[in-house]
């Protein structure tokens, strides 16, 4: 009898233990992003990125899914209502998604001092209409990357600081090196026309000249005003009139990029994301960076932009996902992502990155102070489409700048009138 009771007690204890295990529920938080964590961090990426969090929170597991060809998959899933708890967002889309109820406002999860700690360009994209909807994944600014040897060979003191200097220097740098009558070396290259990357590069030209794409209150398009049209004309002239830049042969950040590494181009207008990969893939290429030129009579302005993490309003595990969002703002993650993509996103942690004191990062940090985000409006898709088309038609199709901008303004006004 005693043996029987002992056996029953043991069985009970085992059952109790097992059920306690089962009761300790593990929530899986899914994150979607197009970024190449698996390539950058190798097969151990899960441990590197999420290890510290999962150790601290054993009841939460993070599952990261790499999503190439982001736009299509994301939008189909969004339309069908099957998004993950956390997903990456291109900063420019934050107003569009937030206005349509996709993004959860983060102010009640993340302390205000953390949000305000993000560097200027990043912060501008995280916050919309006073609320924070995203935290930075990586952020970028712009500059020109140049080949100091080619500049020295042409007898130039340094990179051009103003548009006028760009044209002058450019003429000396666009040369026929082997005497066959064809230009072999180009002074400048910037990707303009169709594509969001192109849009990112070409909008600062408008702003530098004192122009605007839309007015502050988003009531009206201003891209057909003289200053903006002048800017478009200047960009087009670089290709068509002064001929110091060749029209790029591809659209997306494609095959030959950064072209300045091929030795056939002297100066390229590009973004921060290029620095680390260029240093790694072209170790022999000695390059320097400088702020990209602005008109003498204009302002020094540059673009900002990058991707962020957002919390889906339809997530079934918001509390746990919020913990993950907080983790994504932690010094550890800022360090990991900053080392990998370039710019440390939180001001208070800048000191941990020694390299930010040296070239080229000191120029980058400086540029961060002059950034301006692309128009923050739920109808941004129309705005970017209209401006891209204007640049495309003028630069590649020879359409007069004023006419192209008029058409763009017409489209933007139509779109702004909708909401």
């Amino acid at each position: 009898m005693k043996l029987l009771i002992r056996i029953i007690t043991i069985i009970f204890a085992v059952i109790l233990l097992f059920s306690m295990q089962a009761m300790a529920k593990v929530t899986t938080i899914t994150i979607w992003a197009p970024h190449d964590f698996d390539v950058r961090y190798g097969p151990e990426y899960n441990k590197i990125l999420w290890g510290p969090f999962e150790k601290e929170n054993p009841d939460i597991k993070i599952r990261w899914v790499r999503v190439p060809e982001w736009e299509q998959k994301f939008r189909i899933a969004a339309a069908a209502g099957t998004l993950p708890d956390i997903f990456a967002v291109d900063g420019i889309n934050v107003p569009a998604y937030a206005a349509r109820g996709l993004l959860e406002s983060l102010d009640r999860f993340i302390p205000a001092e953390v949000i305000n700690d993000y560097v200027k360009g990043c912060y501008d994209e995280m916050v919309w209409e006073g609320k924070c909807y995203a935290v930075g994944l990586e952020t970028n600014t712009q500059f020109v990357i140049y080949n100091p040897d080619l500049l020295a060979k042409a007898g130039l003191p340094g990179p051009p600081r103003y548009w006028e200097e760009l044209v002058d220097f450019g003429k000396k740098l666009t040369i026929d090196t082997d005497g066959d009558g064809k230009i072999d070396q180009w002074a400048y290259i910037v990707y303009v026309g169709r594509g969001e990357y192109q849009m990112w590069l070409q909008t600062p030209y408008i702003w530098q000249n004192g122009g605007e794409v839309v007015d502050e209150k988003f009531n009206k398009a201003l891209c057909n005003q003289p200053k903006a049209v002048e800017a478009l004309q200047f960009v087009s002239d670089l290709f068509n009139k002064y001929k110091i830049a060749p029209k790029p042969g591809d659209i997306l950040a494609g095959p030959v990029w950064p072209v300045v590494a091929t030795g056939k181009f002297a100066i390229e207008h590009i973004g921060t994301f290029a620095i680390l990969p260029v240093q790694k893939s072209y170790p022999e290429f000695k390059f320097k960076v400088a702020p990209h030129p602005w008109p003498r009579a204009g302002k020094r302005i540059t673009g900002c932009g990058g991707w962020h993490f957002s919390l889906w309003t339809g997530s079934k595990s918001k509390e746990e996902a919020a913990k993950v969002m907080n983790y994504l703002t932690s010094p550890y993650i800022i360090q990991v992502l900053g080392d990998s993509y370039g710019i440390p996103m939180r001001k208070s942690l800048m000191g941990q990155f020694e390299r930010m004191k040296y070239h080229p990062w000191d120029v980058v940090l400086d540029q961060l102070n002059y950034t301006k985000p692309r128009p923050r409006h739920p109808q941004y898709p129309y705005i970017t489409d209209a401006i891209q088309e204007a640049f495309d038609r003028t630069v590649y199709g020879g359409v007069p700048a004023q006419e192209a901008m008029n058409e763009a303004a017409r489209k933007i006004d139509l779109a702004l009138a909708k909401k």
Binding site: D36, P43, I76, Y282, W307
Partner: protein, 280 residues
């Protein structure tokens, strides 16, 4: 027949080989460039003027690329999807094409037009409703959306097979019926054996199509471990940077099974079906 024949033949053959090789080079050029790039180190890829022979040969690009993209796992996924859907395609498309090509029934022509019409609607507008259907069936994040529809036929293959089946003389069907066979016997003993080139074509097309299908797996699968090779290849195209040497190396390896399949399927492309004793 000796009438100066062998010299003439030699010249003809030589000419043929010259043309074949010249055209072949044109077609192979981009692929050769892929292999050349696959063996280079990053900095050498975009040199100008273009350099065909890498120096040094980075053979390690291949194993490195395959390791990074977790080749074996995605190979397994791809094989599962491709072979199961291939079975589905061969099963359904042959039967349906048989029906359309040799039977008279009411509304046949209309239904055939409907079949063709389904290919005329750009998929971009139907993808969301289709995706919603699969979500409701809870098939999302499984291989089912990639495999099950194959068992119901794809219009492209049905149309192709129908055209081929219609080149087979009806007298053969009649002969089989006289010998006591039924519709299935005709299908199994006459139609299928005489359609070897067509069946080989359908198999090749579907194998390669499913092998390289990027969009389907992208949309329906939401887990890194479930992706097929085509999606895994995209791993080398980051948001800002493409690892060209790895991408090319991996692309070459991923393309090899398709090439081998095609090469060996050539045995089904035999010249001329001799229909002895079957003069109408």
């Amino acid at each position: 027949m000796f009438r100066g024949g062998w010299v003439e033949n030699l010249v003809k053959n030589l000419l043929l080989y010259i043309i074949l090789t010249a055209v072949g080079l044109l077609f192979a050029l981009p692929f050769l460039w892929t292999i050349s790039t696959a063996l280079k180190e990053s900095a050498q890829i975009w040199q100008f003027p273009p350099r065909w022979i890498p120096n040094p040969f980075q053979w390690q690009n291949f194993p490195e690329a395959l390791k990074i993209m977790n080749f074996l796992l995605h190979l397994k996924n791809t094989l599962i999807v491709v072979f199961t859907s291939l079975v589905g395609v061969l099963f359904s498309c042959t039967l349906v094409a048989y029906g359309f090509s040799r039977f008279r029934f009411g509304g046949r022509n209309l239904l055939f037009i409907v079949l063709l019409s389904t290919m005329m609607v750009p998929p971009q507008v139907t993808i969301i409703p289709i995706f919603i259907i699969f979500t409701k069936l809870q098939w999302v994040n499984t291989f089912k959306p990639l495999i099950v529809p194959a068992f119901f036929g794809y219009p492209f293959y049905i149309f192709l097979l129908r055209q081929f089946f219609m080149t087979i003389p009806y007298e053969l069907d009649e002969a089989t019926i006289i010998d006591g066979g039924d519709y299935f016997t005709i299908f199994w003993r006459i139609i299928l054996p005489l359609s070897k080139p067509a069946l080989a074509t359908v198999s090749i097309f579907h194998f390669i199509g499913a092998w390289n299908d990027f969009f389907g797996p992208l949309v329906y699968l939401s887990e890194n471990t479930k992706y097929t090779l085509a999606v895994a290849l995209a791993a080398f195209r980051g948001v800002y940077w493409t690892y060209w040497h790895y991408l090319m190396a991996a692309s070459v390896v991923v393309a090899l099974p398709c090439l081998l399949l095609y090469f060996f399927a050539q045995r089904f492309f035999i010249q001329g079906i001799t229909l002895t004793g079957m003069r109408g």
